[in-house]
């Protein structure tokens, strides 16, 4: 068993924990953990053709994904005092079953892609897809804005992982662009969360509907 498989399994376990937990700080920690795992994975992928430019890119992504963004989110959690998800749209037990379904779907999708059966690439894409689905699900099924912000981060982790399977430089650069977008989005959201909290004294995304025309 390679280290790659172990790291991929860690990603999957992180996602499952995401479905079962109600604490927002746990969500943030998982996102950070996944960021670090991704860093390790991309480092492993580029061990043989490592050069300075690549090293900088990998290092930067790891720091941003595993450190900066989670830290920022964690601080927001602390400032706003929203520690746990009060009212999940979908119950935790049911969420985890949906999670298994999503894993099945992503494996089925990847099985139909023109990839080598049983290859590391296939596995990586499957886990990437599952992670992306998990992030989306978190956005859909949890009411708090904080969870949604973490959801985007997890979604981005998944996209990054899926992209990483097609090793090469260009995707990595594209990834970096996406990462910047997400970073900006998360920062914006965090700022907005502060304002929303001031205005509404609640962080239930449903209440944002009051803002519509």
């Amino acid at each position: 068993m390679g280290i790659t498989e172990l790291l991929l399994a860690a990603m999957v376990l992180g996602n499952i924990y995401l479905f079962l937990s109600s604490r927002i700080l746990v969500y943030v920690k998982i996102a950070a953990f996944q960021g670090l795992v991704l860093g390790a994975l991309s480092l492993l992928g580029h061990l043989d053709d490592m050069e300075l430019r690549m090293g900088v890119i990998v290092g930067a992504t790891t720091i941003v994904k595993g450190g900066l963004l989670p830290w920022f989110l964690a601080r927001t959690v602390r400032d706003t005092g929203i520690r746990r998800e009060a009212e999940p749209v979908v119950g935790y037990v049911f969420s985890s079953l949906i999670g298994v379904g999503l894993l099945g779907i992503s494996m089925w999708v990847v099985g139909n892609l023109p990839l080598v059966e049983g290859s590391a690439m296939q596995r990586t894409v499957a886990v990437g897809l599952f992670t992306a689905f998990s992030g989306l699900f978190l956005c859909v099924a949890r009411a708090s804005i904080m969870s949604q912000a973490v959801g985007y981060l997890v979604l981005e982790n998944g996209v990054f992982l899926a992209g990483m399977a097609f090793q090469g430089e260009a995707p990595l650069l594209v990834e970096l662009g996406v990462l910047l977008d997400v970073a900006v989005a998360v920062f914006l959201m965090a700022v907005m969360i502060h304002s929303v909290r001031r205005e509404f004294s609640s962080l239930d995304a449903d209440r944002l509907r009051e803002l519509r025309d």
Binding site: G91, V93, F94, G104, W108, G111
Partner: protein, 658 residues
């Protein structure tokens, strides 16, 4: 063969006689019950003889003198018919004997003679269904079966709830029958005799399969077509519920097996998948609803939905085996379906008898009003305990044997290369494990609330003793559960002939042999070990005298029976966990706030989700749609005559043109 005809004729005659003698209540009861019992035994003899011939037995064909333009009045006895026929006469015969005591309470209030006629007709028509060899005889028997059982369901027709249940049953029965009409006409392919052996399916096998599953599934209680079942089973007298749940549902299973064997090869993959998925859903959802019920008979009725689900799951596995060309899978699936049909007849009949005995003895079927009956009715408690262990699928009794066969089938295809086959197997194992855990919860709840602890009401505290005539049939069935459970290695050989008749042309897979042998052996070992430990404990342990005190209540000075955990509170963690499915309605659920509250009451009940959310809206929609046509029905005779006139003219004109 002669015995079969004498038996069938006897059923109708005895019923008729008992109905005529209704004025003399006890004569009518004894004549009806004993007569039906004897007729059943007479009919059973040739069936047993035929089954004993084994795989080599030739089908016996009989042609009735037939005057109708459709059909040919042909009957056939093969091993599959004999198997289901034996279930029918066995269970109905016992139910008739039980009914003698059960109906005694109505003596002097009203005449019950008619029920014997209906019961006799029900038994004869069920036999007709399994013996029919052409579509017309089949549908006639089917219709007679539905009507006679309807008559029995509305036994207590003075109650509005019973009338409603009867109506739901009648509608469901006829919608199902409508599918079967289309099915047989389609399969006959223009042949007016509708003989089974001449039926050809052609390219429409898929449509026929859907019609068969809907038509027979409605009768069998396959989710989501089960909605009539909880209503009808809880309304009918208990011995009738026992017959309906124990064997009448199985005619639906028989129908599916028969039609599938007539559809022949090739079997598309989605047939097996559909049955497995519907069965798994029915099993899990059925037992969940059973867990949430208050009424003992409704608990049992929903548990029938669960068991029918298991049978359909087994059929699904068998069809999948047929599709994949895996003989072991095919044999295990179909064999488990047959064996579980038999097992369910044994323990469900017994439990319905038990529910009836409880009702007569205590006067209520509400679980939260019962309690502590094991001390007053020990024999009944032991029989119900045996039934509960068997229906939960636990060793060493029979329920385990059929469930382990489904497990074995699913486990065989876990390693199958194709991912979807493996997924179906994983789903089947998952569903069975869930059903197993939930069934333990459901039946410990039933036994615990009814028989254990202290009586929760005055009625339960003064329960009347149960008549021996009610206990003897239960004892026979309990013995059956034990024999099938412990003798499964021998018993399984009897399934070969019915399976061959059902189109499963393969031998029993060798993997089953060690499981059954060891299950029987360890089951016997278990009984021995329990006995040994019990003896050891009584001989060696505890030199001191046993003392008796009240249950330890943590120092609370005045415990009452009302403080016990009730059936509702026992199930509450699970019903809350699945509240998104069960939709239990609660009244006055808000917690107490004031320090000295007034007296409060709390009410909760769980209605059928599918009846309320699917069928009621659908039927109301149809009602609204069709009410447009009511404009035509103005209520004036002149207008009606005008319609006739117009119709006449149009027809004449059409005829002229033609």
């Amino acid at each position: 063969m002669l015995g079969l005809w004498i038996g069938v004729a006897g059923m109708a005659l005895v019923g008729l006689l008992a109905a005529c003698l209704g004025r003399w209540a006890s004569v009518s009861r004894w004549l009806g019950g004993m007569g039906l019992g004897v007729a059943s035994v007479i009919a059973a003899v040739p069936l047993v003889g035929y089954l004993a011939e084994g795989v080599g037995a030739k089908p016996v064909l009989i042609s009735l003198p037939w005057g109708l333009p459709l059909g040919c009045g042909s009957l056939a006895l093969d091993s599959l018919s004999a198997f289901f026929g034996l279930l029918i006469v066995g269970v109905t015969g016992l139910a008739a004997v039980y009914g003698i005591a059960y109906l005694r309470h109505d003596d002097g209030h009203r005449r019950t003679g008619g029920t014997w006629l209906l019961l006799g007709l029900l038994e004869a028509s069920m036999l007709g269904v399994v013996l029919a060899h052409d579509g017309v005889v089949f549908l006639l028997s089917w219709e007679l079966m539905t009507l006679s059982s309807f008559g029995l369901v509305v036994f207590d027709h003075h109650l509005p709830s019973v009338r409603h249940a009867g109506l739901v049953y009648l509608i469901a029965g006829h919608l199902g029958a409508a599918c079967l009409f289309v099915l047989f006409l389609w399969m006959a392919n223009g042949d007016p005799t509708l003989a089974f052996e001449r039926m050809q399916v052609g390219p429409w096998a898929n449509l026929c399969f859907v019609l068969a599953v809907v038509g027979f599934g409605t009768k069998a209680g396959l989710l989501p077509l089960h909605v009539w079942l909880p209503e009808a089973h809880s309304s009918a007298p208990s011995h009738v519920s026992a017959v309906m749940s124990g064997v009448m549902l199985k005619t639906g299973i028989y129908g599916v097996i028969r039609v599938v064997s007539m559809l022949g090869e090739p079997v598309p993959a989605w047939w097996g998948v559909t049955l497995a998925v519907l069965g798994a859903a029915g099993g899990v959802i059925g037992i969940l609803f059973a867990l949430a019920q208050q009424d003992v008979k409704r608990v049992l009725a929903y548990s029938s939905v669960e068991n029918i689900g298991i049978i359909f799951m087994a059929l699904g596995v068998g069809l999948l085996g047929k599709h994949l060309g895996q003989p072991a899978l095919e044999w295990l699936g179909f064999g488990a379906a047959l064996l579980h049909s038999l097992n369910h007849s044994l323990f469900k009949t017994m439990l319905f008898f038990g529910a009836g005995a409880l009702m007569h003895s205590v006067g209520t079927r509400q679980l939260d009003m019962l309690g502590g009956l094991a001390k007053r009715l020990p024999t009944l408690a032991v029989f119900c305990l045996v039934g509960a262990v068997a229906i939960s699928g636990l060793p060493p009794l029979n329920g385990f044997v059929s469930e382990v066969m489904v497990y074995a089938g699913a486990w065989q295809s876990i390693g199958h290369a194709s991912r979807w086959v493996a997924s179906i197997s994983v789903g089947v194992v998952l569903a069975l494990a869930l059903i197993g855990g939930l069934a333990v919860a459901c039946f410990t709840r039933l036994c615990g609330a009814a028989f254990l602890g202290e009586p929760r009401s005055e009625m339960a505290a003064h329960a009347h003793p149960v008549s021996a005539l009610m206990l003897v049939p239960m004892g026979v069935l309990a013995l059956g559960c034990l024999v099938v459970g412990l003798g499964s290695w021998w018993f399984i050989g009897l399934l070969a002939a019915p399976l061959a008749a059902a189109g499963v042309k393969v031998a029993m897979p060798p993997i089953l042999d060690p499981i059954l042998h060891w299950t029987s052996l360890l089951g016997a070992g278990l009984l021995g070990l329990v006995l040994l430990l019990w003896l050891l404990r009584n001989v060696m342990g505890g030199t001191h005298e046993a003392r008796r005190f009240g249950t330890w209540d943590c120092g609370y000075a005045q415990p009452t029976a009302r403080m016990q955990y009730t059936a509702s509170s026992f199930a509450q963690p699970l019903t809350d966990m699945f509240s998104w499915l069960l939709r239990t309605k609660k009244q006055n659920a808000e917690p107490l706030t004031e320090p000295f509250p007034d007296s409060k009451h709390f009410l909760s009940h769980t209605d059928d989700l599918f009846l309320n959310k699917v069928f009621h809206p659908a039927f109301h929609g149809v009602d609204r749609l069709l009410s447009v046509g009511r404009v035509l029905q103005g209520g004036r005779v002149q207008v009606y005559i005008l319609y006739m006139l117009v119709t006449l003219i149009i027809l004449l004109a059409y005829q002229m043109e033609g």
